[in-house]
Structures are given as C-alpha cells and as structure tokens.
Symmetry: D2
Subunit: 404 residues, 4 copies
C-alpha cells in the first residue's frame, strides 16, 4: 500500500470540491481517512480537511494525486515543483505537467509562485532566478527552458461557486431550451455593465451567422455604447460584415428585404476584392469606402479584432491571419484585461477561444444548436454558461437591454 496525506481548504463544501475529491479517490481504487475536518458554517467561512489517501500501488496513488491537484489539493509534506530542461526546440520533456485553465501556483524554492497567463493544455516554464512561472504552448518551448514535470509542488485553485446568488447558475445546470431566456439576457446585460464599470474588457467571439441573420447592427450598436473591447472571429464574419456594409447583402441575401439579390457568393468575393484593392481595412475606412458595420466601428475606435483564417476561407480579407500559430499568438496577446466573454454562433472560434481563456473569465456561449455548448464543455471550458437560443434575437434583446 502506498499512502500520502493531502490538505484541501477554501469553499470546498459549497463548491463541491470535497465530494469530488472523495469521488476521485474511490473511483480510482483508493481509500481515505479523514484526519481532520473543519466545516465553515457561515457564508464567509472557509472549510478545511486533511485526508490520508491510501492506494494499492504507487501508480494509482500518482493518478489520484494528479487528479486531486485540480481540486486544489496540496501535499502536506510538499517539495518544490520538479522541472526538466527542454532538449529540442518545441519538444517537451517526457513527464511534462499539462495545465488546466484554473489559477495555478508552483512552489519555487519553497515559495508559492502564481503561474502567469494560465490556459489549458500547455506547460509551465519556470524562471528560477526571477521566481516567475509562465504558460507556454508546446511549439514555443526553447532549448534549456525548465518545464514543470510530475505533480509535486503544484497547487490549483479550484473553481469556487460563489455562495451569493450565482448569476449564471440558472444557465449552467443543463443545456435545456425550456428556460426563461429574457431573464438570462438581462442578467448578461447586467454583468456586462458591471464589467465595463470596473474597467474590465469584454471579448466577443462571433460567427458569420451573426451577419447572415442581420444581427450585425446590434453588435455595432454594442460597440458604439462601449460594451465590446475585443472581437475574435474569422474571415467569414469580417467578409460578410463588409459585404453588408458595401452592398447591403450577406451571402447575396438582402438584409433589409430577405430576398436573394445575387447568385451565391459573388458579393462576398466583391467585398474582399474591394478591400484588397485599397490594401487594408484601415485604408478603406480612411478613404470613406467602409462607412458602417462591426469592422468599421471597431476600427474607428482603435479596438482590436483578431481574425484567424481557416481552411474554408475565400480571399482572404486583408487583416485575416493565415498562419495558425501566429493567430493563436495574437489571440493570447489580446486577452490581458478581458474579464468577460460572449460567444455567439461560432463553434470553431468559440472552442479556440476556450483553449486560451483562463477559467476565471466569465463566459457565455449563445447558439441555437445545443451541440456547440456540449462540445465546448467536452473540450474543457467547463466554466462556460450556455444559452440555447437564436443569435439574432439574442443580440437584439441584449442591445435593447443595454440601450439606456
């Protein structure tokens, strides 16, 4: 029998941390004894438990400890985080520790150091001299960098469900379509207001259906009122937005009358071509060619759109990034300060954003297709609250809720 003693503290009762931990231990074939348990009985009090874990062998104990880490467990007799040096550029040492998107600390020379720019499925590089720890994606690690390995000396701060009336709670329980959505939308509006007031940035991740359904005008309105600080999207959203601004159509459908005015994609190609002819979006705004829409409003305010290309793109529109590593880099660079994310009608970019977003950023995913929400959660963005509804009517209602 192998054994180890761990501690858990914080809102471990009401955040379901403690039962989840017990579950893991038993699911993996271990046993536990409660050495000490103090339950905080008032809202503001935290709880504490010290557990002795036993497992039939070292491997099992290891697996259990790895998983408990995600709940914030720390070894009572902990050492520094172990590291190994990178020996080939872009190749990790074999026993690398793979991050979650939860706030994480590593013990460096006896002290807990916060990992900077936390995101999921990357590694932690430690700079011992500066006592700093950073996240790095695999392809960016350099020879000689010290990558954290194993699971000792790592502490993850679990997702704590606030005890106060959890604003998003009613959306989180399931992906049911049978809920009062107007309430949810007004709650989202309230949180956007709060976020803006305290100086936090709001990131919108947008799919092209936003434009096809004529909802671009509501997003433009939100930008104008200061509720959008960064946009992530792709070639389609910008192209249809520009098509709509230049020709009043999206995929050839007139957005005012709903009628098909052009066969298929010609206007969409014309829109790209028009911007390519002047060289850039900046130039098109400057020349007075582009006079409305999401892209125009963002450009006019100097706000950032990170537009990542994809394999299905026509064009592409100037400003769309063709190289995926570069695009991810720019997405990461745009995240500091973002405290809330609203993802609308975009599966690809929603998942991509989920990959680089810390779990602490409030995230709402709006889609008419429940599978988008399911997929996002399947891929680790458990903090995302899903709202299964119509993108167009959602944005219309949101813009209205924020119009005064």
């Amino acid at each position: 029998m192998s054994s180890e003693t761990i501690e858990l503290s914080g809102h471990i009762i009401d955040s379901w941390t403690l039962p989840s931990a017990w579950d893991v231990i038993m699911d993996r074939g271990g046993y536990f004894t409660v050495d000490e348990l103090r339950i905080g009985v008032h809202k503001t009090e935290t709880s504490y438990i010290r557990l002795k874990i036993e497992a039939p062998d070292d491997n099992t104990l290891d697996l259990i400890l790895t998983e408990l880490q995600q709940f914030g467990a720390a070894l009572v007799n902990g050492d520094d985080a172990q590291t190994a040096a990178v020996e080939q550029p872009g190749v990790l040492p074999p026993s690398f520790y793979s991050t979650t998107n939860l706030p994480t600390q590593v013990r460096v020379q006896g002290q807990w150091v916060q990992v900077e720019n936390i995101e999921m499925d990357v590694v932690i590089v430690i700079d011992t001299e500066q006592r700093r720890a950073f996240c790095k994606p695999m392809h960016e690690v350099q020879i000689g960098e010290r990558v954290v390995t194993g699971h000792g000396g790592i502490r993850v701060q679990p997702f704590e469900r606030a005890r106060e009336r959890e604003s998003f709670a009613f959306m989180q329980s399931s992906v049911s379509t049978e809920k009062v959505k107007v309430l949810a939308i007004h709650e989202i509006a309230r949180q956007m207001r709060e976020t803006r007031e305290r100086g936090g940035k709001i990131l919108f991740v947008l799919g092209p259906a936003v434009i096809h359904t004529g909802a671009g005008r509501y997003v433009a309105d939100l930008i104008l009122r200061g509720y959008v600080h960064v946009i992530f999207g792709g070639n389609a959203i910008i192209t249809h937005d520009v098509e709509s601004a230049l020709f009043g159509t999206s995929l050839g459908v007139n957005l005012r009358s709903g009628e098909q005015v052009e066969g298929g994609h010609r206007n969409h190609l014309r829109a790209i071509n028009a911007i390519r002819a002047v060289g850039s979006i900046e130039k098109a705004v400057e020349l007075g060619l582009l006079k409305e829409g999401i892209t125009y409003e963002m450009q006019k305010r100097g706000l950032r759109m990170v537009l990542a290309g994809s394999i299905r793109d026509d064009g592409p529109m100037p400003g769309v990034i063709s190289d995926m590593q570069e695009a991810q880099k720019q997405m990461r660079a745009a995240l500091p300060g973002v405290e809330m994310t609203v993802m609308v009608a975009s599966m690809l970019h929603a998942i991509a954003t989920g990959n680089v977003l810390p779990a602490t950023v409030r995230t709402v995913v709006v889609d008419i297709n429940p599978s988008v929400v399911t997929k996002l959660a399947d891929r680790g963005s458990f903090q995302a609250a899903g709202l299964i509804t119509d993108a167009e009517l959602f944005l219309r209602e949101l813009a209205e809720a924020l119009s005064d």
Copy 2:
C-alpha cells in the same frame, strides 16, 4: 402498352406542376408525348398542356395516374368518380381513395363537386342525392355510405405558388437557421393583420415550452389584441398556464426570477387540483380564482381552446379531452373559418393539426429544433413554412410587431 390522355391547366409552369408531372411519369417507367402546350406568358395567364401517357402495363399506368391527380391532372375522357358501399362500420372498401390536403373535386353525375372539409389521409363519402361530397376519417364511416374508390373522376387542385412576391417564400426554401428572422416575424405579423381584417380566424397551436420560457404573457397579449381565435394544445400548456397564473411558476420555476421555488412538479399538480376542486375553468374564472394568462383571456372572450390529452399527462386539467377520437372531432369542428395557423414549440399537436388542416391554410411552424419542421413536412404538411428560432423571443417580437 397501356395509354391514357390527361390535361393539366392553371399555373402549371411557375408552380412546378408540369415538371413534377413529367418527373412522375418518367420515374414510374412511363413515357409521354406532348399533344398540346400553351404557355401563359404573363403573370395573370394560365397555361395548358395535354399529354398522352404510355406505360408498359395497366398497373404502372394506374400508379402514374394516381400520382398525377395530386398535380391536378384530369383524364380527358373522364367518367364519374367510382364508389363502393361500406359493409362494416369503420371499415373501408378495399380500393378506397385516400385524400390529400389539397382542394379536391369529384365528378358526380357528370358534374364536378367540391369535397367539403378536405384533409389528408381520410376518404371521400358521396351523397349522390344531395350532390355533395365530404371527408370522413376511417373510423366514422357507416354501413351503406358510398366511399370513393380508384382514381377516376377525381380532380385535385395543386398548390399554386403565387407569382406575386411570395411572402413566405424565403422561409420555405430550407430549414436553415441562418436567415434574417426579424423580417420573417414582421411578415407573419403583416399576414396576421390582413387575416384579421378580412374576418379570417387565426389558430395558434402551442406547446408547454411557451409557458416554461415565460412567453405566455405575449400570447395573452395577442389574444387581447384580437389576433388569436382558436387554440389547440394539450394538458401541459393549460396546466402550466394556470400554474403560472396562480403561483407565478412553471414546473416550479419562478417566471419572474428564473429561480426554482418548488421541487419538481408540485405546483403543477396544485394548479390542476385547484381547478378540479371548483369543477371547471369557467367556474374558476367566474369565482375570480383565475385572473390572468392565456386560458383566462380565451375564456373571458368566449374563444375556443381544444385541449387534447396525451399519454404523458398528469391530472388531467378539467376541459382536457381524454378520448382521442373525441378530441380530433372537436379539432375538426373548430377549423371552419381558420385562414392562418401559427404553431409554436409543439411537435405532437403541430403534427396532429397538420393532419386535419387543408393545405390552403397559411401555416407557420416555429421551433428551435429543426427536426420538428422536417417531421411535419415528412408527414405531408408541405405547405407549412418553418422558422427555426427561439419560441420565447419569437413571441416577444411578434407581440411587439402587432402592438400598435
């Protein structure tokens, strides 16, 4: 080789009748020769074609003629419709003609007679003396009644796509979610206004999600403004509506705050129990127990709700019809005068209504789940225009569009 000559006339070009007819002939293994073709070149002109059809055998020719009937083909040398007498109650003669939901005429003693109360998948009974023809469901046919058999002497008027700007056309093409829905909703509102102005009745078919999502208030508002004349639904819609009126909840969720205030279904049972205790909805309104909601507004105006029970019901609520034959009978009885139907968030009742509705009634199906629209079309209600959107936000927008 068997052969027969048929005629087709009307808007057979722009309603795709002619190509559909050609298709059927060739798909079934027949050949055709165009004896005469006159194409109407202006909007108001109709076209005419006389086709000689050849088929390898009588069976094939029969199959072809049966299908062509649905496009309005009539034999050039036609006889009266054939009939056979019912010999057992509720049992049809073997070669009975099964109707479509398109306007249909039968030849009785040399004259074309309109079939009354046309609906799909029933039979035509002819009263030769009175020169009348009616639809009857199988289980209602009586011994001695004369049921139309074969396919001679029957003329179906095909669904003619209006040449003018087809208001619902943009919804009909497919079940895509990527369309401008606000436009579609305003078009529906316009048609509701027109229907009401010319004295036509509007039928709403409602599923319980209308109440769960808090959208009952918008329907109540539409009733109040005179845009709802008949409602079809089930036990769930009335029960949740009454629950909402009495306790402010739906399935125990407070519709103002979105919070669960009661475990599961208790309020829903309490609502049924409260009405059962006073005996009926009428009495509950009279006693001042029921003071708001869809049911209240309908009752107050003497408007009809046909509520058909289902196997999943609790209760049931007084007024809900437990016997399915009786419920279908009452649905049929409520149809005269109905010129438009709006189906929201209801698969079961939408399909049931589709079954008894003539194809000439404008029908809109609104659901967040595309499969509802697909299923309705699969089951023969091809005239239904689908709008894949959120029921709650749809009704909110519709009520707003009709509020002035």
Copy 3:
C-alpha cells in the same frame, strides 16, 4: 430562527447525497452544524451524519426539509406521516405530498411502511388498518381516502450510485455524441442478458422510426430470443409494423429497396383497414393474415403491447387505446416485474413511461436527437442513461450482440 435536526445515512458520500444536502441548505438560506459524522472508508461501509439545520423562518425551514427528504433525510424526532381525507372524488387535500420516483417509506403508527407502486408526481394513500401505503394519481382518489400531506414521517431512499464499476456511468455523464457506442451497446446487451437470467422483465418503448428505418426486424429478432417482455408504443408503431408485414412498406417506402412505392399514407391506411376488417390483431394472426413483424411475434408469445393512442393518429388500429386514463392504467398494470427499460426513437412514449416508472428500473434512452434525452431528464427521469445514436444501427448492433 427555526431549527430542526436530521439524520442521513447510507452511501451518502459516494452518491453525492451529503454535498447535495449541504447545497440545498445553503442555497435556500439556511445554516447547518455537523453534530456527528462517521465516514465509511471501505466500499461496503455506509456513512452517517447528524445535522442541525437552522433557518431564518419556519417557511424556509419547511422548504429545506421538503427538499432534503428527497435525499433520504429523516427528522431525528419524527412523527407519523400526516394525512387528510379526500372530500371530492379526484380532488386532493390542499397540502398533499407529491411523490418522486424514488423508493419511499411513510411512518404509519410508528412503523416505516414501504409505498407500493412508487412513481413520480402522484400522491400516497394510506390504509391504516392494513398498514399499507399506495401511490395513486390525482384523478383516481376517492372520497374518504387518506392522502399523505406535509413532509413529516416520509423517508425517501436516494438514488445510490453503486461503488462497483457503474455499468451505465460512462453514458450518464453527458449527452455527448463523441463516445464509443459499440461498447455501450454491448454493455446494454450484457445487462439485458443478466436481467433475463434472473427472471426480470425487459420493457421496450418504441417509436415509429424503428419501423421506417427498417429496424423492426431486429426487434422481432430480440422478441424471438426472449429479450422483450413488454412493449409500450402508440398507433404509429403498430400500424407501420403491420403495414411492413402486409405490404413490405413503411409510409409507402419499400423497406428492402428504399424506394417510394405508394403515394404517402395509403398503405398505412390499408393496413389499419385490413385489421379492422377482421376485427383484431389476434384474429389477423389466427387467420394467417399477419405472419411476421413485432406485433406478430409478441401476439404469438402472448406478450403484452400497451398501445396508447394520440391526437395525431389515423385509424386507429384495433387494440390501440383511445382513452388516455385507461391507457395509463394499462401501462401501470404492465409494469410489475419490469427491471429494465430500453426506449428507442420515441419522445412521447418515453416521457409517458418515465412518468410511471420507478427510478430503480434501469433505463436506457436511445435517440439520434439529443433533445429527447435532455427533455426526459428535465421531466424527472434522471435515472435514464442516454445514448445519442442511430436507432436502426443501434438495434442492428444490439440484436447482433445478443444473437449467440
């Protein structure tokens, strides 16, 4: 401040009962103190907790106690269950206790009595003389019967997740389509084998798509091999099954070639008419008219099909029950002995069956549409494990897995 002391015991740690209970107390605005806690550290040991609950007022305390009951909490100083007499037939006393589908006991004269035929959303009637307690739906309560009210003296046995490798666990976590389904199907097969071996009955709930997709043959095969003991369904499943047996088609589509051989629903009406002409399914089998298919195989073995009509039915087929109260009664009557339920491609009948099924019956819901599983769970059948897959290919694989 109001307060009360409760006890919880059993697998309250690994079944998440304890954390759920804590959650409820805090969510509802109460506080708790742990008076005693004993944690079972081995698989076979149970745990025990005694909690003192405090709430700001009596109403809140009441609400908390009601909810805790569902987790199996019992008042330390408990009394007998309270009852009130029924005063109008089919009308409950105002403070009636509404059941869950979990095993439930009521205290009658100081003794805990198991409630018979437990199902959700009905009431408990106590026969004090006989010391028995039964479930009854609202519309069946009679004058003078004593219905349980309030929440004292009621004990619910929570759903305990077995600690052994939970066979269905991998299906339960979410409704993801991205799982290895062949494994799940073979696990279902294994459980069906076990159920049959120990003499338990297996109930199949079937929607018409089973026949449309040509999968009727696999179900017939399962009946033949003794894996189906009861079938619940509607008019559509039996009608299409008979249509398929008589004409080789379903909705006019030839099930061997996939070709449309008849316009729309005529064969379907012919099938109903043929059985109506001879009077019943029994007679049709006896006369050699019906010689294959699900209905035939069930009839030949004297097995029960409870076929509940619905508002969308044609016909109906003899044997289909038109009255919904009667149909529910027959469904309830067919349940004793059922230990496993497989629901395939049926939303209406799946929900209806969920309503009358105890939570202790293993339930699998198979549908290509994730919303069916979501809806079933939303309506209280939390024990149902969902498998999002193709009904036809599921049944083919299941029949193959059980073929040896």
Copy 4:
C-alpha cells in the same frame, strides 16, 4: 424593354433545368416566349428549347442571363468571353465572373474551351495563346493575367439527374433521419467498389469524432482494403489517431473499455510530443514507434493525408499545415483523380473540401447532426448527399459491407 434569345439543351426536362429557368425569368421580373421546344420522349433522347427573354431594363436582363448560365443557357448570338487584365496582384477586375462548381466552358476565339480544375467561388483565367482556361482563387491572380468578366461566352453544364435509378436519390430528398440507412450504406459501398474498379480515387474527409468513438479501426481497415486514396482532415484527427495508436486512448478515454484513464488532454499532448521528438510521422513509422491506425496505414502505402491546421489546435502534430493558403493549395493538388468523397463527422473540413470540389464528384456527408448537411448545402455543395447517422456505426457497417 431589353431582350435576348437563349438556348438550352440536354436533359433539361428530367433534370428540372427548364422549369428552374422559367422560374428565374419570372422571379426576376422578366417574361419569356417559347420559340422552339423539342422534348426527348425516351430516356436517351435529350430536349431542346429556344426562349426569347424580355426584361424591363438591361440590369434585370443581365441578372436573368447570369442566373440562366448556371442552368447551361447559352446566348444564341454569343460572342467570346470577355476578359480584363489583373492590375494588382491578388486583386480582381471589378466585373469578374465568379464560378460555380459545375463543369464550365468559355468561348475563346470562337471555340468553346473547358475550364480546368473547376471549383466554386474562384475566377477563370484565360491563356489565349494556348487556348486554355483555368480556375484561380483571388489571392493567386498575377498582374497581367486575363480574368473572365461579365457573363457572355460562358457555358455551364448543369447538374443532370441521371434518368436511370439514381443511386443516391433516396438520400438527397431531405435530411430526414427516418430512412433505411443500412440500404444507403450498402449503396455507398457499391459505389466505392465501382469507383475503385475503374481506377477512380476515393477521398475521405474525417473529423476527430471518428477516433473518439473508436471508429478509427474501421477506417484503417478500409485503407488496408484499398478503399481510401486520399484523406483530408486536421490536427485533431491525426493527433487522436496517433494517441490511440500509442496509448490506446482518445482524449484520455480508453477506446477498449470506455473508461477515462487520464485527466483531459495529457495523452493527446504526449502523442504530439512523441512525434515532434522524432521529427515526423515518416520517421515514427520507420522507427517502429507508430505501428497502427489510420496515419500508419496511409503512410505505409505512400498515400496522401492533407492535414490543415486550425485556430483551435494544440501542438501541432508534425505534418499539419499551419498556413491556410498553403493548405488549400495542397488540398487542390490532391484532388486530380478523385471521383468520390466520403465526409464523416467533420463540419469544418467538409465545408472546406466542398469549396474546392467539382460538383461532378460523388459526395456523401455523414453526420449525426443534421445541421452539418444543411450548412454544406447552404454553402453551395448541393451535390452532396446527406446521411444523418452515427459516424461510428456507419463506418462499422461500411467496413463490413466492403469486407468480402
């Protein structure tokens, strides 16, 4: 009034070309007179029509002629295709002609020349000297190249529905889930056999769910039997395939037991890291590190996988193309010889492949989510036949159907 005379010939009756053409003329506000009509009455005969089209103005006439082109209409008095020179690299002349994915000819010096490598939404560049015409995406056009403009001198060969029993027809009608899929799968198998026998290549487009659901083994089996010649996919499919080959898991789920063996994505990162460490897939196979799976089987046979990166990728795996223009180029380069495409569980890569695929390539899209098929059709890949079913069970059945 403006007018023009056009000709249409071929299977214009049974391919619905003629009625579609009439529809366009009338929908756009034009009129027509039939100058000559010859209808082919036997299967092998083609038809011919000469129509005089009138429109209220030149713009309308233009719009009509543009759309009729897609149906194969040619001006009776046609001239050569017009061209304009490219003046900026990657920027088109304003009135560029945007292609469809149908076989297209342009008139060059009085002769009809076939456009090479036809695909949708690109332009046609004419090399007058060589009398050749090519497709080019916008970003590849060079200064001085002559791009086709306007709509004169262009002839599109419409999609002709074969009169013989159309093998895919039963899948094409709609995206219903209620069809006999085993039949469809065997039909697809038959066509794959035929394609292979006549030396045509078969392209598979695969999403990661193919691996998550454990269906990778069936694809490996199809490769082994010679039914897969090219694969298009992304980082996820190759990574999960390698993860599955190296560790037996996909996203940490053991594909044999269905159990989660590793928290989240670690094995997936380990798989990428392992290949990065040796440098390439080729090397990994050579060293005996990679010994099974899709990637291994393809590599061993020297078959091509074009793996296009995307913004949501980890890693990436060596061999995945990060630059989107480069990836599209390689997809195009892999297409010659491809006569059939099977797309499974991939929305992004399915749409991307649809973009570069001529309409003449038989295409099947298999997905459990109907919206994938709808989206593909919405984006112009109308030739794709959709099969709404489970990817895993589809591939299992397909592999079995092709196993002898």
